[in-house]
């Protein structure tokens, strides 16, 4: 029995796929199932919250201009920033994450994902885009100081065609790495900047 036996964690899934059905969402679902199973093996049950960025495309553009997230986007942001782990999956457009995917992470507070375990996934028409995960997504999450698992999962069209590219193995390996990280951490606590001052005003006055 693990010490986390019986506890519940929240996994937020951010999917930036644009079509329905989308291969990005398909990969996100594979990663989600594998993560939930891996957590279960560690005695942890998981609640899954999916954020389809397509539904927030206009909200995100508005947020860029107004500086605040409107109601539906606020819920999505709170879901992701309050989760115990994040699965972030994007199609690769023009050699990088999609603009929609990047915009979502652009409107988060820069400290909102500090230390949060993240599993990255990406899809594209050809495997020649696969390193975009390493040269585009990983630096993004490094900037946000999230804790990204070593295995990032890329799925090209040929992986869905049943080719033996090892996709299932990569999904399981990545999910296991994420589950280890989640299991090793206490459940995420809500952060409320208004709950109490982080320091007294006397500290601010002293410049500490």
């Amino acid at each position: 029995m693990s010490p986390q036996d019986g506890s519940t964690r929240t996994i937020a899934v951010v999917s930036a796929g644009l079509s329905t059905p989308s291969s990005t969402r398909l990969l996100a679902d594979r990663l989600t199932s594998a993560t939930v199973a891996a957590l279960r093996n560690r005695g942890i049950s998981a609640t899954v919250e999916v954020v389809e960025l397509r539904e927030h495309a206009r909200d995100l553009a508005d947020n860029l201009l107004t500086g605040f997230a409107n109601g539906p986007l606020r819920s999505a942001v709170d879901t992701v920033t309050g989760a115990d782990a994040v699965l972030a999956v994007t199609p690769i457009f023009s050699a990088s994450y999609s603009g929609l995917f990047k915009t979502f992470f652009d409107v988060l507070d820069k400290d909102a994902l500090v230390g949060t375990p993240v599993l990255m996934g990406a899809t594209a028409g050809t495997a020649r885009h696969s390193l975009a995960l390493e040269h585009a997504l990983r630096p993004l999450f490094a900037y946000l100081r999230a804790t990204v698992v070593p295995t990032a999962v890329f799925a090209a069209s040929e992986d869905w065609a049943g080719g033996d590219g090892g996709l299932a193995d990569r999904v399981d390996r990545a999910a296991g790495e994420l589950a280890d990280l989640v299991a090793g951490r206490p459940p995420a606590a809500p952060v409320d900047p208004f709950a109490a001052p982080t320091s007294s005003f006397e500290d601010l006055l002293r410049g500490t």
Binding site: A61, D62, L64, L65, T66, G67, F68, N70, G71, R74, P193, F194, P197, F201, L204, L205, G207
Partner: protein
């Protein structure tokens, strides 16, 4: 409760005509708006401070002094005074001077300013915004409270034996509000000193304003200035009114759609539901405004932004007529009927002087002048002796 208007002094193209006013025109327009505010029975006119185009108001005390001379009862305030990039010594001097000229009708609202490039123009760094606000305001208070100040801090040249003149009118410093859209530290600062807290209440959803104000009230009580519902709260807001609400929507839409801050983003309808913006009839503005009290409690000051985004002067003056004739009289009556007796009004110079036991002459005369003169003379003598 005080009602008034605030302007950010933007010089913006009128999207319906393609014409942009000149600086001279826009400056005259704002003066006309301020004097009109008094004529229609408003209490407060507040002016922003900016140091970059498309804004003209780099020198708010000059403008407010002129307005003070043209008016007799209007309370003059700022929206906001930059506590980060202004030298607190100059703020102490300028606003003490303005208070003398205006006969006690001045208060000020301090803000950090969110225009990054402005900071280095004044030798500062936006990343130090909170620290600057904290240190500079602590010094500003001392400059008004103490005749002779010795001071050393992180951001400004140290002061030795400095006296800020003129001394505060009647020995009482102007009342200070602290404005912040999203920084709990600034609400904390306002609460710590028992000063007012002003929320812009234009750009963000009401739920956010509610959190900031609740936090300020809680901390106000924590620091022993009174109960949470006695804290001094001011709100911004914006509207566009016509007798017929459809006319208001039709006329305001091009200004909204092209507004510098939120234009080309959310629709007028979305933004109206997400923020306190009200575009409609006077009755709709009355109802929406009365609703502010539901989430911030009984508050002391309500200012509206009405002259932005290229709206022509004629239109703004019509807005003021509607505000003064149809909206504010109802709001005054309704808010007053709802406010419990133990909730104070917004502090004024008169109420603060009374609370301090009456006016005091605090002129620092011969003694300090002699000291300054002697030092200068000694220096001169030393130089001449060489």
């Amino acid at each position: 409760m005080q009602f008034g208007i605030f302007t950010v002094s933007d010089i913006t193209q009128d999207p319906t005509t393609g014409r942009t006013p000149t600086e001279a025109e826009r400056i005259r327009a704002v003066l006309a708006i301020a004097t009109k505010a008094e004529e229609v029975g408003l209490d407060v006119f507040a002016l922003g401070e900016h140091h970059n185009p498309p804004f003209f108001s780099s020198s708010p005390t000059t403008t407010l002094a002129y307005i003070a001379a043209q008016t007799s009862s209007l309370q003059l305030s700022t929206a906001t005074t930059l506590i980060t990039t202004n030298d607190p010594v100059k703020i102490a001097e300028d606003y003490a001077m303005l208070q003398h000229l205006a006969g006690g009708r001045v208060d000020l609202t301090l803000g950090r300013g969110n225009t990054g490039p402005v900071y280095p123009w004044f030798g500062q760094d936006i990343r130090n915004g909170i620290e600057l606000a904290v240190e500079n305001y602590a010094l500003l208070r001392r400059l008004w409270a103490e005749d002779v100040v010795d001071w050393q801090g992180k951001f400004r040249t140290p002061l030795q034996g400095f006296t800020s003149t003129p001394r505060p009118l009647d020995g009482v410093a102007p009342f200070v509000w602290h404005g912040s859209i999203r920084s709990p530290q600034i609400a904390e600062q306002a609460a710590y000193y028992g000063d007012g807290f002003f929320h812009n209440h234009i750009f963000w959803p009401p739920e956010h304003t509610q959190k900031m104000v609740e936090f300020y009230r809680k901390r106000y009580e924590h620091y022993g200035h009174g109960s949470a519902d006695q804290a001094i709260v001011g709100l911004g807001g914006q509207f566009f009114m016509r007798k017929n609400s459809q006319d208001a929507v039709r006329e305001f839409r091009p200004y909204f759609d092209n507004a510098p801050v939120y234009g080309h983003g959310p629709s007028l309808e979305d933004f109206s539901s997400q923020t306190p913006l009200t575009v409609g009839s006077p009755q709709q503005v009355i109802e929406r405004t009365l609703g502010f009290r539901d989430y911030v409690g009984d508050y002391q000051r309500q200012l509206f932004l009405i002259d932005h985004a290229g709206l022509p002067l004629k239109t703004v003056l019509e807005q003021l007529d509607l505000l003064g004739e149809e909206v504010v009289p109802v709001l005054r009556r309704e808010f007053a009927a709802l406010k419990p007796a133990h909730v104070p009004d917004a502090p004024t110079h008169a109420s603060r002087v009374a609370a301090a036991g009456g006016p005091k002459d605090v002129t620092v005369s011969a003694a300090a002048d002699d000291v300054t003169g002697q030092v200068a003379e000694q220096v001169r003598e030393e130089v001449e002796a060489r």
